[in-house]
């Protein structure tokens, strides 16, 4: 097994996903199949090979630090499921 039930539960917690027991069961099998397939990459010796992030080798992009027109507060808050006109409202963090 590449991945256990317990690991799936751990990763789900990291990803902020709540899984039902039968989902954990099914996903453990599916993830194991996929990770076993991915182990195919171990056939290749990549010791001296650099990683690719941007395929044309682009680096950082700089621009002048200028003020541009941006969303106003009303627009920025418009899609908030709970907002009070000034901020997004969320459940209490500190009890």
């Amino acid at each position: 097994m590449k991945i256990t039930r317990k690991e799936v539960e751990h990763v789900a917690r990291l990803a902020r996903l709540e899984l039902q027991p039968e989902e954990v069961e099914r996903l453990t099998i599916q993830l194991d199949t996929i990770l076993n397939y991915a182990a195919k990459l171990d056939e290749l010796d990549t010791g001296g090979v650099a990683v690719t992030t941007h395929t044309q080798g682009a680096g950082n992009v700089f621009r002048e630090d200028l003020v541009h027109e941006a969303l106003n507060r009303e627009q920025a808050l418009a899609n908030g499921p709970d907002q009070n006109g000034e901020a997004f409202v969320v459940p209490r963090i500190i009890s």
């Binding site: 996903l17 690719t52 899609n79």
Partner: protein, 486 residues
């Protein structure tokens, strides 16, 4: 001939000649949508009133002599592109009521050119899928055969072309999501070079792989759309500042001096004999057009799927962290703490495939596994990119099938994620290498399902793809064949 069956270029010509108005054209498209939508289910959101209002405005502009390149032409776009006047769901329940505060750069470019955005097209949730079965709203059906998949993830965009529900459309392609549905539905689809088209306002799936591109009824329309959407954008730091040519100038009859590579790795086991037959016949047509055909090798092809299904989920798990119920989208209302609110929101808002990929990605990036999975995959990605570099010293483009089989029945592969991932094997490499790829109709299976040919070229060489595709289209003789939709 009904207006809705015109190509983009033909409709543009008729508008310019004054033979039709944008209102007539838009009404024709809207009535076509009403007639065929129950059968093909391509749209998530339709904006009839908005479209007609835009058409009236376009007609006024044209009378005033200020018509843009696409003035008055009704289009539709994949629901992954932000539109300030229409909700943008990404095929997900979590964004059911999300109306973006801005337009994606490509949407702005279309609007600035005068195009009318009629509606938003169905897709797999967050573009994760190859069939559109992961769409939380409706599952589009292949116009050529009821009950068959349209492909994905830009399935709605391909269906809208094949069913004449729009004159042209946009999709996005992370591992084949434009080319695969284009092939399965018998239309033209282009994934441009990474960086050719701005990703600003394209809802992110895997940022190092995603690219916006056109799906159209023919090759000329693809070139027209590329002229409008290409170019550098300050708002997308990965877009590249390279001059945009007039892509329609690439549509020359004849392929003298063009070297075409055929990689045996793309014709290996699992390839449907009918698909192979159609593609090999297409290659002969390209030879007759004057191209030189030679065998080339892409030795790391067999590793593409494994690399992709580590890199794409890893990037997705990071990109999709933003759906937490705070700033937009669905929020679970019954949570006592912030963390519980996040978890409940995401568990109810995301579908199965999205959860699966977020989990794979989180695992591949988690402590102790990063080097073994994500980093390893990123190194093999370099080998795949280098394969293409070598090949493009020997030829100008590489041709192959797009998919190992024609369309299959809805539900047929829905329970086996890995089997479905493996069907992406022929399209993934273009995204990993960042090169442009195109699917052009090449023929049909015995049961009447379309089969496309894939063409891939070096970075920023979209022109040679359009030229080769144009020559195949001229010779394949299937351009006027349309599905029976009553």
């Amino acid at each position: 001939m009904e207006f809705f069956s015109l190509t983009l270029a033909q409709a543009k010509k008729q508008l310019e000649l004054g033979n039709i108005t944008s209102v007539q054209l838009t009404e024709s498209i809207l009535s076509r949508i009403a007639a065929v939508e129950p059968r093909v289910k391509a749209f998530i959101t339709l904006d009839r009133d908005g479209a007609l209002a835009q058409a009236e405005a376009a007609d006024r502009q044209r009378r005033a002599g200020v018509a843009g390149e696409l003035c008055g032409l009704p289009l539709a776009v994949k629901d992954v592109l932000c539109t300030s006047t229409m909700r943008t769901t990404c095929g997900s329940k979590i964004l059911e009521n999300f109306v973006p505060p801005y337009d994606a750069t490509v949407i702005k470019k279309l609007k600035d050119a005068g195009a009318i955005i009629v509606g938003k097209l169905a897709m797999d949730e967050f573009a994760m899928g190859s069939t559109c079965e992961n769409c939380a709203y409706n599952v589009p059906e292949n116009p050529w055969k009821p009950g068959y998949v349209a492909g994905g993830s830009s399935g709605g965009s391909a269906v809208a072309m094949a069913a004449d529900e729009s004159l042209a459309s946009l999709g996005s392609d992370t591992g084949g999501s434009i080319r695969q549905p284009a092939s399965l539905c018998g239309v033209v689809g282009m994934k441009p070079t990474y960086g050719r088209v701005s990703r600003y306002g394209l809802v992110a799936f895997a940022s190092s792989l995603d690219q916006v591109g056109p799906l159209t009824k023919d090759v000329r329309d693809c070139a027209l759309m590329m002229n409008v959407i290409s170019g550098h954008d300050q708002r997308d730091a990965t877009s590249v500042d390279t001059p945009v040519p007039d892509y329609t100038a690439a549509l020359q009859d004849g392929l003298k001096g063009v070297r075409i590579g055929v990689p045996p790795e793309y014709f290996s086991q699992g390839l449907d004999p009918e698909v192979e037959q159609v593609v090999r016949t297409g290659i002969e047509m390209l030879r007759e057009a004057g191209a030189e055909i030679k065998e080339v090798s892409l030795p790391h092809t067999e590793y593409c799927v494994a690399v992709y299904y580590l890199i794409a989920p890893a990037e997705a798990s990071s990109n999709l962290a933003r759906y937490d119920g705070v700033r937009y989208g669905y929020r679970a209302g019954d949570a006592d703490s912030l963390v519980e609110m996040y978890s409940k929101t995401r568990s109810r808002g995301f579908g199965d495939e999205v959860k699966r990929r977020v989990l794979i990605g989180t695992y591949a990036l988690s402590a102790g596994y990063y080097d073994a999975y994500y980093k390893k995959a990123s190194r093999v990605r370099t080998l795949i990119r280098d394969d293409f570099k070598t090949v493009f010293d020997q030829c100008d483009l590489v041709v192959s099938p797009v998919t190992p089989t024609p369309a299959w029945m809805i539900g047929e592969k829905a329970d086996d994620p890995l089997a479905l991932y493996l069907s992406d094997i022929l399209t993934i490499s273009a995204n990993l290498a960042g090169i442009p790829g195109l699917s052009v109709p090449a023929g049909f299976s015995g049961s009447g399902l379309p089969i496309g040919m894939q063409m891939q070229a070096a970075h920023f060489n979209e022109e040679v793809l359009l030229r080769a595709a144009w020559n195949l289209e001229l010779r394949a003789g299937i351009k006027d064949r349309k599905p029976e939709l009553g």
